[in-house]
């Protein structure tokens, strides 16, 4: 019988038991989930890995692009010419409005100055192309080809020719990610175009929208257009968002209102990233009796802003 201090040397090296390793890995994974979702610690790691895997993802996106472009590629010359003629007509049709726009904007600014109102915020925009829609079954997101280098920031609105598409939620150096308004976790403050009734638009999954927190007896009808209200301080007010499709009023204190997005939420290939070019608010004045610091740049550049 071997004594207690007798030690066998294992013939095969076995390392840590698999159960223990599983436990360690699962713990790491759960810690990562919490760190990423609740604390946001892993953004730099994600950025790093995204940059490393960028060529692989571009290679992977290529066959899908090819398939979607195939129809366009094989369309014949006549179709292209018709299309070009259509665009030309459209361009001429909008030209007079565009030409008058600058004059109207100046006039508007002067009138606002006369009335003593604050300036309307100016916007800047970045045109972008949709690279692909994210291969993620749980959410509705797109990847755009413009990123931090072009001045894209999280929170900006993304529109197409017909209306609001979504919001930038994550920005990489050369790409950015849009969460569509139909995503489960996306909300937009809106108002009814007809009477200014406010509400919050949320994604209802499966490409649908829902207007929430509108009282059951509120003045709203099917066919009403909903615009962004701009109350969130992120979106420019007045962007078309959706059209009311159906209203159920007897389901509780709030009506259940289903809506359809106006923008081509799932099919647009070219989009515009739109920002409220709002200057940062001036810093609070020091409370001591000392003479105030030199006025901040923002107020110097733009004295009418309240």
């Amino acid at each position: 019988m071997p004594s207690a201090d007798f030690q066998t040397h294992p013939v095969f090296k076995r390392g840590v038991a698999p159960h223990v390793r599983l436990l360690v890995y699962v713990t790491i994974c759960v810690a990562m989930l919490v760190a990423d979702l609740r604390l946001g610690y892993l953004e730099s790691l994600r950025e790093y890995l995204t940059t490393i895997t960028y060529p692989m993802r571009m290679v992977a996106a290529e066959p899908v692009n090819l398939a979607s472009n195939a129809a366009k590629y094989f369309s014949n010359l006549a179709d292209s010419q018709f299309e070009q003629a259509d665009f030309e007509r459209l361009r001429i049709g909008t030209a007079d409005r565009l030409l008058r726009f600058t004059a109207l904007e100046q006039e508007n600014e002067q009138l606002r100055k006369l009335l003593g109102m604050s300036k309307r915020v100016r916007t800047y925009s970045v045109a972008a192309e949709v690279l692909y829609s994210a291969p993620d079954p749980y959410s509705r997101k797109l990847i755009l080809d413009q990123g931090k280098q072009e001045g894209v920031e999280p929170g900006l609105a993304v529109i197409d020719a017909d209306g609001l598409l979504g919001q930038i939620t994550r920005v990489y150096p050369i790409q950015s990610e849009v969460t569509l308004i139909t995503d489960h976790n996306q909300s937009v403050p809106v108002q009814v175009e007809r009477n200014g009734q406010r509400g919050v638009m949320s994604g209802a999954g499966q490409g649908k929208l829902e207007l929430r927190f509108v009282l059951a007896d509120a003045d709203i009808k099917t066919g009403d257009r909903l615009l962004t209200s701009g109350l969130d301080g992120l979106f420019v007010p007045g962007l078309p968002v959706a059209i009311v499709e159906s209203i159920e009023r007897d389901v509780g204190a709030f009506a259940r209102i289903a809506c359809r997005p106006l923008g081509g939420v799932e099919e647009s290939s070219h989009v515009l990233i739109l920002s409220r070019a709002e200057l940062p608010p001036p810093p609070p004045k020091p409370e001591t009796g000392e003479p105030p610091l030199p006025p901040p740049l923002a107020t110097k550049r733009d004295p009418d802003e309240d």
Partner: protein, 174 residues
């Protein structure tokens, strides 16, 4: 190495670079942006990872699964972690079942793989729903079935380099 533990033929040893190359290609295939809720695209990384976890349980395991999971997570838009968690569990199950599965012919091996893939998908859906995202629909689970159907062709494809004879002899084809 053998085709299954019952076959008489001894195959060539697997080359590590081939294992990692196949996993790399699977990763690129997983990045292909098709609507994965339609369920027609199998989870290539999970499939190839399961294959090598069963064939080479001493070399391919939870560590490789973890790293691949992170890379797949980064390619998507969700949080970091669900795929890593799922692939670690998958590698654990496949490693544990490896010695049993190798006694079955490839078609019956596929029946062992199906529940593993389904468990992994259920795990991912569970994590994402705890986090508060929408349920992707039942068709999502179809990709496990598609993956299972691909097990047999994948087995032959990934064993092709190992089927090569050591030295070719015109007079004695093996």
């Amino acid at each position: 190495m053998q085709f299954t533990n019952r076959s008489n033929r001894i195959l060539q040893p697997t080359k590590p670079w081939f294992v990692y190359l196949s996993l790399f290609i699977a990763l690129i295939l997983d990045y292909v942006p098709v609507a994965s809720h339609s369920g027609m695209m199998p989870d290539w990384v999970a499939l190839v990872l399961t294959f090598w976890c069963i064939r080479e349980p001493l070399y391919i395991g939870m560590g490789v699964g973890f790293i691949l999971g992170l890379l797949v997570d980064v390619g998507g838009t969700g949080p970091m972690g669900p795929h890593a968690l799922a692939y670690v569990v998958l590698a654990f199950m496949a490693n544990a079942l490896a010695r049993r599965v190798m006694w079955f012919p490839a078609l019956l091996q596929a029946l062992h793989v199906l529940p593993m893939l389904l468990i992994v998908q259920a795990l991912m859906v569970g994590v994402r729903m705890v986090v508060g995202e929408e349920f992707p629909g039942w068709r999502y689970f179809l990709s496990s079935v598609v993956g299972t159907a691909l097990w047999l062709p994948l087995t032959y494809l990934l064993l092709l380099p190992q089927f090569q004879p050591v030295n070719r002899d015109e007079n004695r084809p093996i």
